[in-house]
Structures are given as C-alpha cells and as structure tokens.
C-alpha cells in the first residue's frame, strides 16, 4: 500500500471485494477530510428529457443532524450557479429545483447538475440528457470494390443533431431469405458509413437499411434493395503513360492498362480521360473512350505541358445493365507537346464533347475514306499513320518556308539580324 493516509481496504486474508462498487462507495460516501459524514441524493438521477421540456429535481441531504441543511444548499448546472429563484426549500433537508424550457445537452456524457453545500463543496450530482429522438436516416448509397466488399454511406435525419449520443447501425440481409446482419466496420469513409468486407453473395439482391437509436427513441431508414453487380467500382487504371506522337505539335498519345482486379470482366468497360494545361484548374473531359486502352488527344496547344488522368467504369459486369460506378481518377501523368513557331489551335480532344469541328469529324471522315480506299482501290499501304506523317511533313515545310521568308511567329515579316552582343 503506498504511503500516505491508510486506505480503507484492510490488508486482510479475505478475498478482496469487487473493485468498482467499492471504488464508488469511496467516492460518494467516504468522509471528506475535516467535513464530517454528510452527502446528499439528487432525484431524479440521470434523467433523459426532450428539448424544451421542464425538470423538477430535489437534493436531499442525509447524514448527521449537525451537517448542512437545505437552507444553505445551492445548485449549479455545467459549472454555472443557478439563480436562487429557481430553487425552493421543501423541508429542512431538501432543496427543490425547477428548470423550464431546457436546451440540448452540451456534451454527450450529460449536463452536470450538482448540489452544493454552503461552502461550495459538492454533495451530489446528476447528469441530464436533453435532446431529440433520431429522425429517419436517408440517402443510403453503396458501392462494391471489385465485387469483393460493400461500403455504404447515409445521411442522418435532421442533419444528425440530436444533442445525444445516437448510435447508427447498418443492417443488411438477402432479399428473400437469410437473417439480418449488422455491419461492424464504421466510419470508413466518413462519420456515417460502414464497410462490409466479405461474405457477400452475387446475383441475388440485398436489402439494406440503417437504424438510429438514442435515449429518446429510434428511427429506421427506408430499405434499399440492390444487387452487388449493379454497384461495382474498381481501381483507377494503372500504368498511364502519356507521350508525344512523333513531331505532331498538337497531339499526345495516352495509354493505360485495364484495372487488374477486374481485367477478365471489363469487356464493356468504359473509360474517361481528363486533361488540363499545367497552370490551369479547368479539366477537359473525353467521354466514352469505350473499352480501348489508348487514346490520342488532338487539337492541343504546341509547347505546352498537359496533365492527364484516366478512370474506369466497369459497366456491364456479368451482364449488369446498370450504369456502373466510376473509379477514382488515376494519378496525374504529365507530358508536353512539341514546340511550334506558329500559334497552335485552342484545344481539343480525341473525342471532344462539343469540340472543334476541324478536328474530330475531319479525322473520322478521313478514317472512313481510308477504310473505303483499302477495300475498293489498290492502296494497301494507305493508313492513318501515313496521314500523320504527311501532316508532320507539312508542318516542317511550313516552318522552313517561314524562316526563308523571314516571317515571325505572328505572321509579320522581319529583317535579318546580326549576331547577338
């Protein structure tokens, strides 16, 4: 036994009493040094109340007749002394309190209502739990990463502010059979979320709902019915590479790999590319790259650094007809277009949405023409590659012509200059 005042627990051969009740008896009932054996009892003890309701409480002193009487007692709530007009002496040993129109509790462990003796010492305490019952949670959304798990998120009713600790429990079961299960891994993607890591069935719908419970009641969300295959997402495409297309000043080639976790299922997957100029925050998006793993961005500015990202939607997994869920964007990859003397076009894409008509439709028509030529004419070595080579040659010869004629980038003619000093 540490030195100091002798503790109440005697060093005896008897089995020691249960720890906590003894601890609490010591806290509540043991004599304070020099103050005599007197405590009090507050009633009600730890009540739960609705916001706006009233409370009638009493503090009854017990102990020796020489101890405090109701005359000298006073109340505090969360450390603030309550006005005397709220109190009333019921009898020699009991002080009553009337509180009206209560506000929500300041902390989830309860508001501290304390009965004090005249000298300020604490005689008793009770914790008030003032709040609201939970409202119905709503807006449940779920997704499955690579068909292996399920994560769900929801919005608490009434924006979650009940002033009381409210427990949210995500429940799920197979639609036509099976028992209710409770999700166990909470707060995985925010305060109102839960993650089910394993043992999920495919090809059969689940029913999912959220139950909210606090001291004042409970509420249950509507049931969401879903098939895991309809809410699949996956990892961003790995190994995204962006490179120049020969000497073409307005193009970059983007290549990537299908997300490996679902690579055997991505027949109908869709990809989306977004890109932006280095010092801009505005992304341009290329939609519906279908299930290719490469794309050529065209109509770009020459001599400019571009950041590019790709994401995947595993649409059509196991025949699912639902829209699918886009993955996160891949890490940005950067590359620059070759420099040019003449100003380049504004910007475009390999499949622009409302993009420049000079780029997309022209190339599409050219592709069709080349395809027709191969079938109907003896032009077996004609190809898009040949067309791009021709473009590069055109740009070079345009550059050379400008230099010979002393034409500046703006199109103005300039004079020859001597060596720099």
């Amino acid at each position: 036994m540490p030195a100091g005042r002798p503790g109440p627990a005697a060093q005896s051969a008897r089995r020691p009493p249960p720890l906590l009740p003894l601890l609490l008896l010591c806290v509540l009932g043991a004599p304070r040094g020099g103050s005599g054996a007197h405590t009090a009892v507050i009633s009600p003890q730890d009540p739960t109340l609705l916001i706006g309701s009233s409370l009638q409480a009493t503090c009854s002193v017990r102990g020796d007749p020489q101890g405090p009487t109701a005359e000298g007692l006073y109340w505090t709530l969360n450390g603030r002394r309550l006005p005397p007009e709220l109190s009333r002496i019921l009898n020699a040993s009991t002080l009553a309190l009337a509180l009206a129109n209560l506000n929500g509790s300041r902390q989830q462990s309860g508001d501290n209502l304390v009965c004090h003796a005249q000298d300020g010492s604490i005689l008793a305490g009770s914790c008030l739990y003032v709040g609201l019952p939970p409202e119905k949670p709503f807006n449940i959304s779920c997704w499955s990463k690579n068909m292996k798990d399920l994560t769900c998120r929801w919005t608490p009713g009434a924006h979650g502010e009940t002033f009381l600790h409210t427990n949210y429990s995500l429940k799920y079961k197979l639609r036509w059979y099976g028992q209710d299960n409770t999700c166990e891994e909470y707060h995985t993607v925010g305060p109102h979320s839960c993650h089910i890591p394993k043992d999920l069935a495919l090809f059969t719908p689940y029913e999912i709902w959220v139950e909210a419970t606090n001291r004042l009641g409970s509420a249950r969300s509507d049931v969401l019915t879903l098939d895991i295959l309809d809410v699949v997402t996956t990892d961003p495409p790995p190994d995204v590479h962006v490179s120049r297309v020969g000497g073409l000043e307005d193009q970059l080639s983007v290549r990537w790999v299908s997300p490996p976790a679902l690579k055997d299922f991505l027949f109908q997957a869709k990809y989306q590319i977004r890109y932006r100029v280095e010092d801009s925050v505005d992304w341009k998006v290329v939609d519906d790259v279908s299930n290719q793993t490469s794309c050529r961005l065209a109509g770009l500015k020459p001599g400019t650094v571009y950041f590019v990202q790709v994401r995947c939607n595993p649409f059509g997994i196991y025949g699912s007809k639902k829209a699918g869920i886009w993955s996160e964007w891949s890490h940005p990859t950067a590359a620059s277009t070759p420099r040019s003397e003449r100003p380049g076009p504004g910007g475009g894409a390999c499949e622009p949405r409302g993009g420049e008509p000079s780029s997309g439709p022209v190339r599409r028509e050219l592709k069709q023409f080349l395809g027709w030529l191969k079938k109907h004419a003896y032009c077996s070595n004609l190809s898009f590659r040949l067309y791009d080579q021709w473009r590069a040659w055109m740009q070079k010869s345009h550059k050379t012509r400008n230099q010979d004629e002393g034409i500046l980038p703006s199109g103005r003619r300039g004079s020859a200059r001597g060596p720099a000093r």
């Binding site: 109440p8 720890l19 010591c26 509540l28 450390g79 604490i122």
Partner: protein, 203 residues
C-alpha cells in the same frame, strides 16, 4: 555514483556497483517516466473536457477520498528514503491498470466512440510497462521487492463495472477524474524519484 542526499543508500556496499547496462536501464526508465508524465497530463485534460464543466475548471474541488487500494502520493513521500519511494511508485503503477480499465468501461457508456477510450487503454498498458521497468531496476539494484498486492480478477472487475454503472453517471465521472488524477500524480512522482537515481540528476 557520488554520495549525496537522496542518492541510493543501498549502493554503500562497494561490491554492488552499477554496471553501464544498469545505468542505461535507469536512464531508459527515467526517460519513459518523463514521456508518460506528458501523456498522463494529456489524458487528464482530454478526460475533463469530455465530462463537461465544471470538470477541469480551475477551482473545481470534488470529493477526493482515497480510491480503494490506492491513494495519492502523501505529503511525506518526498522525505522517505529513495528505495522506499521507488517501491511505493512501483506499487502504485501496479495498482493503476485495473482502475484505468474500470474507468474505460464506464466511459464506454458515457463517451462512446471517442478517442478517450483508446487513451485509457493505452494508459493502462503504459502504467504496466513503466511499473515492470521500475521493478527490473529495483531488482537489479538489489532492493527488497514490494509486498505483493491482490489483483482483482478481470471478470470480477467487469462485473463490478456493470454494477457501478447503476450508481449514476456523475459518480462515474468523479471516479474517472480521481483515477486519471492518480495516474498523473504517480507517473510524475516516479519520474521525479528516478531522476534522483540518474547520475548527474538533482540532489
């Protein structure tokens, strides 16, 4: 190690001289105590904040009877011989873990899903670790072992926690305040006492 007031009297026998390894162990244990003193203060502050006012307010003076099996370091503690002080420190550190566990169970009802619960668990582990390290130092120095104290069984403590929850939220808050305060006081006391064992430490 030079003789000075408060230094280790049982070093007088020249056949028992501190090995470099022992000195390192003492340093290490002292450093651990210093670190845990900081953590214990943080735990105390976090605890009072979650219980709400008036807990943590200056001048808040709730009842402070001794908790069963453990009281605060007495006023006379500093005047005791160093070996005795270290033994009392070790005894207190051994008594604290079940108390901290009991407070954690009560706070699981009062403040569920808060970081406080993890901190209380960590505090119990740290008290065990510091107590074991201190016992090892005492054993290496040839000090008499402290008297064994009866430990409540985990199941009995769990049942007691359930019973205690029925006593009311405010008494449960007071209990936790007392235990967190004792933890802080004893860890700080251990740091100070070990500091006198460290070569070059305060007299």
């Amino acid at each position: 190690m030079s003789q000075r007031e408060g230094s280790l009297d049982f070093q007088a026998d020249s056949s028992i001289s501190p090995l470099p390894l022992l000195e390192a162990k003492i340093h290490q244990t002292h450093s651990l105590a210093r670190l845990l003193t900081k953590y214990a203060e943080q735990l105390f502050q976090e605890y009072v904040q979650l219980q709400g006012d008036p807990f943590g307010r200056p001048g808040f003076s709730p009842p402070r009877p001794p908790v069963a099996g453990l009281s605060a370091p007495g006023a006379g503690h500093a005047g005791l011989p160093l070996p005795e002080r270290l033994r009392l420190d070790a005894g207190a550190l051994a008594a604290l873990p079940p108390l901290l566990d009991a407070v954690r169970r009560l706070q699981a009802e009062l403040n569920p899903r808060t970081a406080l619960l993890r901190r209380l668990e960590e505090a119990a582990r740290r008290a065990r670790a510091l107590g074991a390290a201190l016992e090892a130092v005492l054993a290496a120095l040839g000090a008499e072992p402290r008297e064994p104290r009866p430990e409540p069984a985990a199941a009995a403590a769990a049942a007691a926690a359930a019973a205690a929850a029925a006593a009311g939220a405010f008494p449960a808050k007071l209990l936790g305040l007392r235990v967190c305060g004792l933890y802080r006081d004893w860890v700080s006391r251990t740091e100070a006492d070990l500091g006198q064992l460290v070569p070059g430490g305060p007299a």
